[in-house]
């Protein structure tokens, strides 16, 4: 197996030392070899991918595209025209979108070749990819453990070197946490940075599409392609898109790194703690100024997030009524029965969240839960604004643990939510954050998370790439 990064592959296609078709065939071969054990893909599209790769090879102009011939995987909650898009749910098991998501259009226009749709927690609700109607995904580093979630299929596909790039989506850590648990790089962009047209909605004040890669520069290049205003998504911003790939070539300089001491004090596995401390030492040795900061409300972030996300999910998932698209269950009764039977196809985590969202939005509970959570959310955001007066990035572990065993948290929803204790704050505050590999604990990958100012992904890429150059972690590949 030749392991190439996305940009190395693109350069080889441009130089004619390989072809898009050869790259596509290698990805499909690797996919077919690993998928029986990983279950990373729900649908694959080898024929369509080969046709597209052949087209790229036959055109001089296409071979110069920024991702010419790079095989990519797309999380299955992102719409692909003519290709089944399930969101990991029984209710969309046979749903074939009539349109492409904007991020899919942009990747394909840049020369990327989609080889398949990746497995995920149902409607992206979960932190282990076990809440999928299509079976759990397994971690390439240890197949008895979860890859994290909800974008676990995309993370596993990149970690297993099936594809060098994949798209996931983030609501509370669904790119960063699986990136950390699978030993790769994952980014949550600023809220509004990337179009959500064609992303199946979960919690609309939090959702963002984010890329996975094995190297920071690949993730940076991918963001450069998918970022920017889209007239079809009113929440996408008109803010200028920076030269992200260029940012990865800059020095660390006198980067100011803040450590929220109250947050990284307890509840972290010893091996994760050690890898994180070493990562901070590396940054300090390279010239970064490391200071303690306070994020006093972040300890309430997971509870705040739970309330906000459930309220928004219950509203967004009201659309699955079995009328206009998707699956309709038994049709012989009354309309109300048809709704209930159809929605009975939801898995347990989706049912829990829809019911609790209904609860926290009910008269009598709204103020105590939803309104209160909105106020705490504002305080969490203010904490970051204050911190960014003193520092350029905030560093924490991405996850308090390494990959946990399959089944361990499946029946304990609160324990599952706590997997996201370090990631949800960035979603609540609408700011960007990246997870970068920072070592291993007992043979399992650990990630360090850098969180930055709104719209300042460039600083995250600069810091993450400088760290990556100083450490061997991103080059580690799981066996098998």
């Amino acid at each position: 197996m030749t392991v190439r990064t996305a940009l190395e592959l693109r350069d080889a296609v441009a130089a004619g030392t390989t072809t898009a078709l050869a790259a596509c065939d290698a990805a499909i071969e690797r996919l077919e070899a690993t998928n029986p054990s990983l279950n990373a893909f729900i649908s694959i599209s080898p024929a369509k991918a080969r046709i597209r790769a052949g087209e790229l090879d036959r055109s001089e102009a296409c071979r110069r595209l920024p991702l010419a011939g790079v095989p990519v995987a797309i999380k299955d909650n992102i719409c692909t025209r003519g290709m089944r898009t399930t969101a990991g749910s029984r209710i969309l098991e046979h749903y074939v979108p009539l349109y492409d998501a904007t991020v899919v259009e942009r990747l394909e226009a840049a020369g990327a070749v989609i080889v398949g749709k990746t497995n995920c927690d149902e409607f992206a609700m979960g932190s282990s990819t076990e809440h999928s109607a299509f079976g759990a995904v397994r971690n390439p580093w240890d197949r008895d453990r979860t890859p994290g979630g909800s974008s676990g299929g995309s993370a596993a596909a990149v970690a297993a070197r099936v594809v060098p790039l994949a798209l996931g989506s983030e609501t509370g850590g669904s790119v960063r946490q699986p990136a950390a648990l699978c030993g790769i790089v994952g980014l949550k962009p600023t809220y509004g940075r990337v179009s959500r047209y064609g992303l199946i909605a979960f919690a609309s004040s939090l959702d963002q599409v984010g890329p996975f890669g094995t190297r920071v520069v690949d993730v940076a290049a991918c963001l450069g392609i998918i970022a920017g205003h889209d007239p079809r998504d009113a929440t996408s911003a008109t803010v200028q898109v920076d030269d992200y790939a260029g940012a990865t070539r800059m020095d660390l300089g006198a980067l100011r790194v803040g450590i929220p001491r109250e947050l990284v004090g307890e509840g972290i596995e010893a091996g994760v703690r050690r890898a994180f401390d070493e990562a901070i030492d590396v940054l300090r040795s390279a010239g970064a100024q490391v200071v303690d900061i306070a994020l006093p409300h972040s300890r309430y972030a997971t509870a705040t997030y739970a309330i906000v996300v459930m309220a928004e999910a219950s509203s967004n998932l009201g659309r699955y009524d079995g009328v206009r698209y998707g699956t309709r269950a038994a049709d012989d009764g009354r309309l109300a029965d048809m709704y209930a039977h159809t929605r009975g196809l939801f898995g347990r985590e989706v049912k829990r969240r829809v019911m609790l969202g209904t609860y926290v939005l009910s008269a009598g509970y709204y103020d105590a839960y939803y309104l209160k959570a909105q106020k705490v959310r504002a305080l969490i955001r203010q904490d970051f604004e204050r911190a960014f007066e003193r520092v350029d990035v905030v560093a924490t572990p991405t996850s308090p643990t390494t990959a946990f065993p399959l089944g361990e948290r499946l029946e304990d929803p609160v324990q599952m939510y706590l997997a996201d204790v370090f990631t949800v704050s960035a979603n609540l505050a609408g700011i960007p954050a990246i997870s970068v590999p920072c070592g291993f604990a007992d043979g399992l990958p650990v990630g360090v998370q850098l969180t930055g100012r709104a719209w300042d992904e460039a600083t995250l890429f600069r810091a993450a790439a400088a760290y990556e150059r100083l450490t061997p972690w991103s080059a580690q590949v799981p066996r098998g």
């Binding site: 996408s236 206009r324 829990r352």
Partner: protein, 99 residues
């Protein structure tokens, strides 16, 4: 404080139009109560200083002009529906009224 009855669960399921399996009712009564107890941590936060008049997430985008633009083709949309009548251009649902 942190208990939900089977009736509470069934009431929420009815509001959300969700059919539950029988074994889910007791399971959810326990799990939902546990999640709500976890969520109630935020009661301890003093939110007097929180900005109340601005939305948690300011809308970052700009609104486009209100122009009529091409949309999805009606026949294709109807063909993708669980039940539809392409001749009249309507989605079909179970009867709502008698007679």
């Amino acid at each position: 404080v942190s208990t939900l009855t089977r009736d509470d669960v069934l009431h929420l399921a009815r509001l959300a139009r969700l059919e539950l399996a029988d074994d889910e009712i007791d399971l959810f009564a326990r799990q939902l109560a546990g999640i709500l107890e976890f969520a109630r941590q935020i009661e301890a936060v003093d939110t007097a200083s929180a900005a109340q008049d601005e939305p948690a997430m300011p809308p970052p985008g700009t609104l486009r002009e209100d122009l009529v633009l091409p949309s999805l083709e009606r026949d294709a949309v109807l063909a993708a529906a669980p039940a539809a009548d392409p001749r009249t251009g309507l989605f079909k649902v179970p009867r709502v009224l008698n007679g």
